[in-house]
Amino acid sequence: MIEHNRRFAFVHHGILIVSIAIISFPIYVVIVASTLTLPDVLDAPMTLLPGRHFVANYITALTEGAILGGGGTPVWRLLLNSLIMAMGIAVGKIAISIISAYAIVFFRFPFRMFFFWLIFVTLMLPIEVRILPTFQIAATLGLLNSYTGLIVPVIASATATFFFRQFFLTIPNELVEAARVDGAGPIRFFVDIVLPLSKTNIAALFVILFIFGWNQFLWPLLITTDPDFDTIIIAINRMLRVVDDQVDWPVMMATTIMAMAVPAAVVVLMQRWFVRGLIEHEK
């Protein structure tokens, strides 16, 4: 048996709690800042005790934005843009990957492996290595400042396709035989058998891809110039570019908290699927 000494257990808990406190410290400071007034924050070093302007700051952020004297995009609009983009990317990636994997696993046809490798290639070409030409193509196709432009160019997914392929390979072949004997075609089989079996895998993947989509940075930064299409992550970055004196720090920190809260809530509330998706997705 493994020894479990009470005194040592206490030490381990202590170390874990202190580490978590250190790791959470930046968030704590930002949450506190989002409850203060601008003079409180500028009166450096700011206090580490929460203030009483929590509600006021979040309402200002949601309705007006964090640039002093107006001119910023209100956060409700930014959250909406982020939500549309994240949902579009997650749903889009799952939809096109699940049907590609279905084609590759359940059919035999000329150039099957060629297509498989072509999908694989996307893994080796992250946006960061083809920034300019991809931007030029999006511009040519008129995708700048549009939801389509934010979503479609990023929804090809090798990892999601592999993820579904691995799962489809575990579906017993007898099921396919039985379906064929019963006269069910490939579309019927997909809708009635494969989709219901994939439910938990889809949920797991959705959590990972939603966060991936929500946190997109470089691509939206390139293709949106119209603040109406800014996502919340991009807007926060733009606020940093405004001269120091014009940023309402508490409101900006409220915006930052809201930008994190959505994906963090998804991770924590959908923990079971998240951990599973993360570990399986990367295999």
């Binding site: 290595v129 083809r130 940075f217 295999k283």
Partner: protein, 293 residues
Amino acid sequence: MDERVYFKNKVLPYLLLAPQIAITLVFFVWPAAQALFQSTLIEDPFGLSREFVGLENFSDVLSDPRYAKSVVTTAIFSVSVAGLALTTALFLAAKADRVLSGRLIYRTLLMWPYAVAPAVAGVLFLFIFSPRVGVLSFALEAVGVDWNYVLNGRQAMMLVIGASAWKQISYNFLFFVAGMQAMPRSLIEAAAIDGAGPTRRFWTIIFPLLTPVTFFLLVINVIFAFFETFGVIEAITQGGPAGATNILVYKVFSDGFVGLDLGGSAAQSVILMAIVITLTVLQFRYVEKKVSY
């Protein structure tokens, strides 16, 4: 050999693949080919004339001292981020593995930084280390550190490393915990019966068994440090001061978009592609081994 039954349909599989393949060709393969093509051309900034120059862009890039500096910066940055994020996560996972109660709570509390976008992680660190309003800047000043990352390159580097590693700890932690849970308990119990203490058990059994996970994470962390930290750099330093945090990915972006040096940027893209391809191959070789203990 292949006994599986398949659906027979001449058109359907192509239709199913069409959306994925179309996006891959238009937004991945074509731009990559363009980058390869542009990397052999010199174009004037107005796009009026261009000239084929072979490998001249590459030799220009590779002989540019700023590029060499960026390579060194990237190396220091990636090694530090990966090292810091991996050791911290391994330490925490080992501690979480030793406690009997509360494991799930600790996991939850360590999980959420995964959800924070790199750009937002940058904003958090920028705010607490800002020379003007930052809480920790004042703490550092109080203990005698002359803190100003806006002017001091070393401090800027430490800050972007800290912010990037901070974000990556959760990911590593979850994989280490999963790896430890997958280990046969009997092995660890046998060692305990033989009188090996917790520290000895960690270094002689748990750590060696974690090697495949660690290698896998090492590759993932290097990929993260190379490419996904763009947001951290953009938020905190924009590559400055004086290029001190100008990692390769940031340089491609700033040379191409801000400097409008199309050929040079394309040549840098092609070099980065070679790096990603190498890393991806490494990743897949270790993935095979990761699952079998």
